[in-house]
Protein backbone atom coordinates (compact mmCIF):
# COMPACT_ATOMS: atom_id res chain seq x y z
CA UNK A 1 0.00 0.00 0.00
CA UNK A 2 1.51 3.31 -1.09
CA UNK A 3 1.43 6.11 1.48
CA UNK A 4 -0.20 9.37 0.32
CA UNK A 5 2.65 11.29 1.98
CA UNK A 6 5.10 9.48 -0.28
CA UNK A 7 3.10 10.36 -3.37
CA UNK A 8 3.00 14.00 -2.30
CA UNK A 9 6.80 14.03 -2.69
CA UNK A 10 6.05 14.38 -6.41
CA UNK A 11 6.15 18.12 -5.69
CA UNK A 12 9.92 17.79 -5.04
CA UNK A 13 10.61 16.59 -8.59
CA UNK A 14 12.32 19.10 -10.83
CA UNK A 15 9.86 20.39 -13.41
CA UNK A 16 6.69 19.86 -11.35
CA UNK A 17 4.82 23.14 -11.11
CA UNK A 18 1.68 21.89 -9.36
CA UNK A 19 0.04 18.60 -8.46
CA UNK A 20 -3.17 17.02 -7.21
CA UNK A 21 -4.19 13.51 -6.16
CA UNK A 22 -7.84 12.47 -6.40
CA UNK A 23 -9.67 9.22 -5.86
CA UNK A 24 -11.90 7.57 -8.45
CA UNK A 25 -14.90 9.63 -7.31
CA UNK A 26 -13.02 12.90 -7.69
CA UNK A 27 -12.37 13.47 -3.98
CA UNK A 28 -9.20 15.48 -3.45
CA UNK A 29 -6.55 13.76 -1.29
CA UNK A 30 -3.95 16.55 -1.55
CA UNK A 31 -3.20 19.38 -3.93
CA UNK A 32 -1.31 22.62 -4.45
CA UNK A 33 -2.96 23.59 -7.71
CA UNK A 34 -5.13 26.41 -9.06
CA UNK A 35 -8.86 25.60 -9.32
CA UNK A 36 -8.50 22.19 -7.62
CA UNK A 37 -12.20 21.26 -7.86
CA UNK A 38 -12.23 21.69 -11.63
CA UNK A 39 -9.04 19.71 -11.97
CA UNK A 40 -10.32 16.94 -9.70
CA UNK A 41 -13.47 16.62 -11.82
CA UNK A 42 -11.43 16.55 -15.01
CA UNK A 43 -9.11 13.84 -13.67
CA UNK A 44 -11.89 11.58 -12.43
CA UNK A 45 -13.87 11.80 -15.70
CA UNK A 46 -10.78 11.34 -17.86
CA UNK A 47 -9.56 8.33 -15.93
CA UNK A 48 -12.99 6.70 -15.85
CA UNK A 49 -13.33 6.93 -19.64
CA UNK A 50 -9.72 6.06 -20.33
CA UNK A 51 -9.88 2.98 -18.09
CA UNK A 52 -13.04 1.91 -19.93
CA UNK A 53 -11.04 1.97 -23.17
CA UNK A 54 -7.59 0.86 -22.04
CA UNK A 55 -8.13 -0.98 -18.74
CA UNK A 56 -4.75 -1.21 -16.95
CA UNK A 57 -2.76 -0.55 -20.13
CA UNK A 58 -3.16 3.21 -19.67
CA UNK A 59 0.18 4.84 -18.83
CA UNK A 60 -0.80 8.50 -18.79
CA UNK A 61 -2.97 11.19 -20.35
CA UNK A 62 -1.44 14.42 -21.51
CA UNK A 63 -2.85 17.85 -22.44
CA UNK A 64 -0.42 20.09 -24.31
CA UNK A 65 -1.15 23.76 -23.60
CA UNK A 66 -0.08 26.93 -25.44
CA UNK A 67 1.69 28.13 -22.26
CA UNK A 68 3.78 24.90 -22.24
CA UNK A 69 2.54 24.31 -18.67
CA UNK A 70 1.19 21.00 -19.90
CA UNK A 71 -1.13 18.88 -17.77
CA UNK A 72 -0.49 15.19 -17.16
CA UNK A 73 -2.68 12.60 -15.49
CA UNK A 74 -1.07 9.40 -14.20
CA UNK A 75 -3.10 6.49 -12.86
CA UNK A 76 -1.91 5.38 -9.42
CA UNK A 77 -3.98 2.33 -8.58
CA UNK A 78 -7.54 3.61 -8.19
CA UNK A 79 -6.28 7.18 -7.82
CA UNK A 80 -5.36 9.80 -10.36
CA UNK A 81 -2.28 11.98 -10.01
CA UNK A 82 -2.58 15.25 -11.92
CA UNK A 83 0.69 17.09 -12.52
CA UNK A 84 1.31 20.44 -14.19
CA UNK A 85 4.67 20.63 -15.93
CA UNK A 86 6.91 23.65 -15.68
CA UNK A 87 7.28 25.18 -19.13
CA UNK A 88 11.10 24.94 -19.16
CA UNK A 89 11.43 21.15 -18.92
CA UNK A 90 11.07 18.85 -21.91
CA UNK A 91 8.07 16.56 -22.04
CA UNK A 92 10.03 13.35 -22.47
CA UNK A 93 12.36 14.07 -19.54
CA UNK A 94 9.40 15.07 -17.40
CA UNK A 95 7.42 11.91 -18.12
CA UNK A 96 10.47 9.75 -17.43
CA UNK A 97 10.98 11.41 -14.06
CA UNK A 98 7.37 10.99 -12.96
CA UNK A 99 7.18 7.36 -14.12
CA UNK A 100 10.46 6.55 -12.33
CA UNK A 101 9.15 8.23 -9.19
CA UNK A 102 5.89 6.26 -9.26
CA UNK A 103 7.69 2.98 -10.03
CA UNK A 104 9.95 3.50 -7.02
CA UNK A 105 6.92 3.96 -4.79
CA UNK A 106 5.35 0.74 -6.01
CA UNK A 107 8.61 -1.27 -6.14
CA UNK A 108 10.92 0.37 -3.56
Amino acid sequence: MVDFNDIEQVGQIDGVKAYILVNEKGKIIFQNIEAPEKMAHMISVCLKNAFAIAKNRLKYIYFPLPTKNDIYIFPVGRFGLGVVKHQKISNMVFVQKIIQFLNKLVHP
Partner: protein, 168 residues
Protein backbone atom coordinates in the same frame (compact mmCIF):
# COMPACT_ATOMS: atom_id res chain seq x y z
CA UNK B 1 -15.23 7.28 -54.48
CA UNK B 2 -16.83 7.62 -51.06
CA UNK B 3 -18.57 10.94 -50.47
CA UNK B 4 -20.63 12.06 -47.48
CA UNK B 5 -23.98 13.78 -47.42
CA UNK B 6 -23.82 17.38 -46.20
CA UNK B 7 -27.18 16.98 -44.48
CA UNK B 8 -27.20 13.60 -42.71
CA UNK B 9 -23.53 12.60 -42.96
CA UNK B 10 -24.51 9.38 -44.77
CA UNK B 11 -21.81 7.53 -46.71
CA UNK B 12 -22.48 7.40 -50.45
CA UNK B 13 -20.46 5.78 -53.21
CA UNK B 14 -19.98 7.61 -56.51
CA UNK B 15 -18.14 6.42 -59.61
CA UNK B 16 -15.11 8.67 -60.18
CA UNK B 17 -16.25 9.60 -63.72
CA UNK B 18 -19.21 11.43 -62.17
CA UNK B 19 -16.83 13.85 -60.43
CA UNK B 20 -15.50 16.50 -62.78
CA UNK B 21 -13.35 19.49 -61.83
CA UNK B 22 -13.68 18.32 -58.20
CA UNK B 23 -17.40 19.17 -58.29
CA UNK B 24 -19.57 16.56 -56.60
CA UNK B 25 -23.29 16.45 -57.37
CA UNK B 26 -25.41 13.63 -56.01
CA UNK B 27 -28.66 12.88 -54.17
CA UNK B 28 -28.05 11.15 -50.83
CA UNK B 29 -29.21 7.52 -50.87
CA UNK B 30 -30.27 7.81 -47.19
CA UNK B 31 -32.09 11.15 -46.90
CA UNK B 32 -32.42 12.24 -50.57
CA UNK B 33 -30.71 15.55 -49.84
CA UNK B 34 -29.41 17.12 -53.09
CA UNK B 35 -25.69 17.58 -52.44
CA UNK B 36 -23.51 19.87 -54.52
CA UNK B 37 -20.05 20.80 -53.30
CA UNK B 38 -16.44 21.08 -54.37
CA UNK B 39 -13.75 18.72 -53.16
CA UNK B 40 -10.49 20.13 -51.88
CA UNK B 41 -7.23 18.73 -53.20
CA UNK B 42 -6.34 15.41 -51.58
CA UNK B 43 -2.85 14.86 -52.83
CA UNK B 44 -1.62 12.38 -50.23
CA UNK B 45 1.84 12.04 -51.64
CA UNK B 46 2.69 15.73 -51.45
CA UNK B 47 1.56 16.03 -47.86
CA UNK B 48 3.40 12.92 -46.81
CA UNK B 49 6.60 14.07 -48.46
CA UNK B 50 6.38 17.61 -47.23
CA UNK B 51 4.48 17.91 -43.96
CA UNK B 52 5.49 21.54 -43.51
CA UNK B 53 4.07 22.55 -46.87
CA UNK B 54 1.79 25.53 -47.21
CA UNK B 55 -1.21 23.39 -48.05
CA UNK B 56 -4.21 25.17 -46.59
CA UNK B 57 -6.38 22.14 -46.42
CA UNK B 58 -5.65 18.66 -45.16
CA UNK B 59 -7.83 15.57 -45.15
CA UNK B 60 -7.75 12.79 -42.59
CA UNK B 61 -6.54 10.42 -45.30
CA UNK B 62 -3.49 12.65 -45.74
CA UNK B 63 -2.86 12.62 -42.00
CA UNK B 64 -2.99 8.85 -41.70
CA UNK B 65 -0.64 8.45 -44.67
CA UNK B 66 2.27 9.67 -42.54
CA UNK B 67 4.89 7.20 -41.33
CA UNK B 68 4.07 5.52 -38.00
CA UNK B 69 0.45 6.66 -38.04
CA UNK B 70 -1.60 3.53 -37.34
CA UNK B 71 -5.09 4.83 -37.95
CA UNK B 72 -7.61 7.57 -37.45
CA UNK B 73 -11.29 8.37 -37.30
CA UNK B 74 -13.71 11.25 -37.16
CA UNK B 75 -16.54 10.90 -34.64
CA UNK B 76 -19.72 12.99 -34.53
CA UNK B 77 -21.60 13.36 -31.24
CA UNK B 78 -24.96 12.46 -32.79
CA UNK B 79 -24.05 10.63 -36.00
CA UNK B 80 -21.27 8.39 -34.67
CA UNK B 81 -18.31 7.45 -36.84
CA UNK B 82 -18.13 9.67 -39.96
CA UNK B 83 -14.73 8.63 -41.28
CA UNK B 84 -12.94 5.43 -40.39
CA UNK B 85 -9.32 4.66 -41.17
CA UNK B 86 -8.76 2.43 -38.16
CA UNK B 87 -7.34 -1.12 -38.26
CA UNK B 88 -9.86 -3.62 -39.56
CA UNK B 89 -9.70 -5.67 -36.35
CA UNK B 90 -11.87 -3.07 -34.62
CA UNK B 91 -15.62 -3.55 -35.02
CA UNK B 92 -18.14 -0.78 -35.53
CA UNK B 93 -19.20 -1.17 -31.87
CA UNK B 94 -15.56 -0.85 -30.75
CA UNK B 95 -15.16 2.35 -32.75
CA UNK B 96 -18.43 3.87 -31.51
CA UNK B 97 -17.41 3.07 -27.93
CA UNK B 98 -13.97 4.58 -28.50
CA UNK B 99 -15.39 7.67 -30.19
CA UNK B 100 -18.07 8.39 -27.59
CA UNK B 101 -15.67 7.95 -24.64
CA UNK B 102 -13.00 10.15 -26.15
CA UNK B 103 -15.58 12.74 -27.20
CA UNK B 104 -16.86 12.98 -23.62
CA UNK B 105 -13.31 13.28 -22.31
CA UNK B 106 -12.14 16.11 -24.53
CA UNK B 107 -15.51 17.89 -24.33
CA UNK B 108 -15.48 17.99 -20.52
CA UNK B 109 -11.81 18.93 -20.38
CA UNK B 110 -12.31 21.84 -22.77
CA UNK B 111 -15.27 23.08 -20.74
CA UNK B 112 -13.09 23.04 -17.62
CA UNK B 113 -10.01 24.53 -19.26
CA UNK B 114 -10.57 26.54 -22.42
CA UNK B 115 -6.86 26.39 -23.30
CA UNK B 116 -7.05 22.66 -23.93
CA UNK B 117 -7.10 21.89 -27.64
CA UNK B 118 -5.80 18.38 -27.66
CA UNK B 119 -5.60 15.30 -25.47
CA UNK B 120 -3.04 12.52 -25.87
CA UNK B 121 -3.42 9.12 -24.25
CA UNK B 122 -0.44 6.80 -23.96
CA UNK B 123 -1.75 3.26 -23.96
CA UNK B 124 0.38 0.14 -24.52
CA UNK B 125 3.10 1.89 -26.52
CA UNK B 126 0.52 3.65 -28.67
CA UNK B 127 -0.08 7.40 -28.67
CA UNK B 128 -3.69 8.41 -29.26
CA UNK B 129 -4.32 12.07 -30.08
CA UNK B 130 -7.84 13.46 -29.71
CA UNK B 131 -8.78 16.88 -30.98
CA UNK B 132 -12.13 18.62 -31.20
CA UNK B 133 -12.83 19.92 -34.70
CA UNK B 134 -16.04 21.69 -33.71
CA UNK B 135 -18.72 21.41 -31.03
CA UNK B 136 -19.90 18.05 -32.37
CA UNK B 137 -16.88 16.40 -33.96
CA UNK B 138 -13.55 15.01 -32.87
CA UNK B 139 -10.67 13.56 -34.82
CA UNK B 140 -8.75 10.66 -33.29
CA UNK B 141 -5.32 9.66 -34.59
CA UNK B 142 -3.31 6.70 -33.30
CA UNK B 143 0.47 6.69 -33.75
CA UNK B 144 3.28 4.29 -32.95
CA UNK B 145 5.60 7.09 -31.84
CA UNK B 146 5.25 10.47 -30.19
CA UNK B 147 7.36 11.96 -32.98
CA UNK B 148 4.76 10.89 -35.52
CA UNK B 149 2.06 12.74 -33.61
CA UNK B 150 4.30 15.76 -33.27
CA UNK B 151 4.86 15.71 -37.02
CA UNK B 152 1.17 15.86 -37.83
CA UNK B 153 0.01 18.10 -34.98
CA UNK B 154 0.41 21.26 -37.07
CA UNK B 155 -1.83 19.76 -39.75
CA UNK B 156 -4.82 19.54 -37.42
CA UNK B 157 -5.32 23.28 -37.77
CA UNK B 158 -5.68 22.91 -41.52
CA UNK B 159 -7.95 19.90 -41.33
CA UNK B 160 -10.93 20.13 -43.58
CA UNK B 161 -12.91 17.06 -44.30
CA UNK B 162 -13.15 17.54 -47.98
CA UNK B 163 -15.82 15.01 -48.68
CA UNK B 164 -18.34 15.75 -45.94
CA UNK B 165 -19.72 18.61 -43.93
CA UNK B 166 -18.43 18.78 -40.35
CA UNK B 167 -20.44 21.74 -39.22
CA UNK B 168 -23.62 21.20 -37.31
Amino acid sequence: MIVFCEDCGGKNSLPSYEIQDNLVIFRCMFCAYPNKYTLESTNKTNAAKNPASDEKSVSISQIISFKDIIGGLVYHRNKGILVNHMPKTLTREDLDFLGSNLFENIDICQKLNIDIEQMILYISHRHTAVRQINANCIIVVIAATQQALHQISGLFNHLVCDSFQLNG
